[in-house]
């Protein structure tokens, strides 16, 4: 099972509604994934700044951590907390030092994603509850992807929830199950890719990270995934400027897309798209198997 949603806005006027629209899409797919939910939202980038999305226990004093890092580095560091997550905004040039500092002063904190624009949130629970905890409805941006999980390959934990970060401003959600993830994980580990869980999707994310580190473009990395990943998958990949879609060659998992004048939307089922504005005039189609699709703001 599992449900995936994605929304890429072509019309700037819809940007303030991005979170609200994605939240409705996500909640509609609760039946496909009641165990956990997550989403990545691509919001405003600030010049020369980078965002780190952090996750920690409910009693974590994120403000104190941000203040400590700010004073250690002598830089302006801001933080915006949402439930168990917080987005730390730091000077891009000093991101590596911030990460090292975080490891020193707050080793229990997980960095779930980083990038100029991407913020990434995920938690265990019904999608509607997860969306409310993080106040998704108020989020603004150009595009976003989300996932509702029905666990099959590993435990119901926050680490097992999607999206998975695959690099700066890049993340992955997955519907399906990979059958060669254990062998592939061992190979990737030998090449220095780290894994936090036994989850199959984390291996797919790690695989893309590994390919990108080799200098491949995301499109080429996805083409290679067709050769190297065995199993069932529909992937949606978020990037700084858009999103990509890839289905396995036998199209085991469902997928529907809609292209309208104002947006491109992805849903595991059409139901997820049914409440989008103007959907009745959109071109609704099923993405073909083994074909990489991309929508990009820069095109």
């Amino acid at each position: 099972m599992c449900g995936i949603v994605g929304l890429f806005l072509k019309n700037q006027r819809l940007r303030p509604e991005l979170g609200g629209l994605l939240g409705t899409m996500l909640t509609t797919l609760s039946e496909r994934g009641p165990d956990s939910a997550g989403f990545a939202v691509y919001g405003e980038a600030r010049p020369d700044r980078i965002k780190l999305t952090l996750r920690a226990g409910a009693d974590t004093d994120f403000d104190a951590i941000a203040a400590e890092i700010g004073s250690q580095l002598g830089e302006d560091v801001s933080i915006c907390r949402r439930d168990t997550h917080a987005v730390l905004s730091v000077p891009a040039a000093r991101a590596a030092e911030v990460r090292a500092e975080l490891g020193r002063i707050a080793p229990d904190i997980t960095i779930v994603g980083m990038g100029r624009r991407m913020e990434l949130y995920k938690e265990v629970g019904l999608p509607d509850e997860v969306a409310k905890r993080f106040a998704l409805a108020g989020m603004v941006g150009t595009h976003a992807i989300g996932h509702t999980r029905m666990a099959t390959e590993s435990a119901v934990t926050t680490d097992g929830a999607h999206p998975y970060s695959t690099g700066a401003d890049q993340c992955l959600v997955h519907n399906g199950s990979l059958s060669n993830h254990n062998a592939l994980r061992r190979e990737l580990q030998r090449d220095g890719i780290g894994f936090a869980t036994e989850n199959d999707t984390e291996v797919a994310a790690g695989y893309l990270t590994w390919r990108l580190r080799q200098g491949m473009h995301l499109g080429a990395a996805l083409e290679n995934a067709l050769e190297d990943l065995d199993g069932f998958y529909t992937f949606v990949v978020g990037t700084e400027s858009g999103f990509g879609v890839l289905r396995d060659p036998i199209a085991c998992k469902p997928a529907v897309m809609a292209e309208a004048g104002d947006y491109v939307a992805f849903g595991t089922e059409y139901r997820a798209l049914a409440d989008l504005p103007g959907i009745e005039h959109a071109r609704v189609f099923e993405p073909e198997p083994a074909k990489v699709y991309f929508w990009d703001l820069r095109q």
Partner: protein, 234 residues
Amino acid sequence: MSLRANARDFDLASGTVRELNAALHQLDPSTSHYWRVLNPKGRHSIAAGLDVDATVEIEGNVGYYCAGMNKRATVLIKGNAGVGVAENMMSGLVHVQGDASQSAGATANGGLLVIDGSASARCGISLKGADIVVKGSIGHMSAFMAQAGALVVLGDAGEALGDSIYEAKLFVRGKVQSLGADCVEKKLKDKHRKKLHALLQKAGIAGQVDIEEFRRYGSARRLYHFHVDNASAY
């Protein structure tokens, strides 16, 4: 009683699919009915399990298993259909005005499924006697293990058409990407032309396409029973 007298609109914005289907299942079987379903919004199992002389028009896109197990009724979908439209249909007519997702007409025993657009993978999988006419193209693994009935495609067919097919008849006008195990092209004889014409007529498009443009595919009948010499083909 006239058709109009038994006409009714059912709005899925206010009622549930379960209520709709329960009402359709309780219709008087001795007369005919005309229903319109509003705001389907991709919901699953709309108008499934009908066994009555009814025409049901659905005003928009539907989700999975629409008109599944249909008997006698005519179901018109004014939009796209999700997975398994008209699966296991027994009789009647299901007409999709848009595209259909995977496994359209799966295991259908009788009746006619017409798809104005294209159908994706596994169209007519395990077909057992129904007729399917697709005006666009079909995806991979269509007519897999199809036992009886016919699949007519005006456009192209994807990979592995008719894999492990039994006695279903396949007519494709466009390109076939590849044939599945034990599926072969067969000669289009007069009796097949006649059958194809009848199928196109049932779908309301006889005369609109040239029958000579179609090619016929069916079973080579090598895989009906396991034979060790054929092991590599399984």
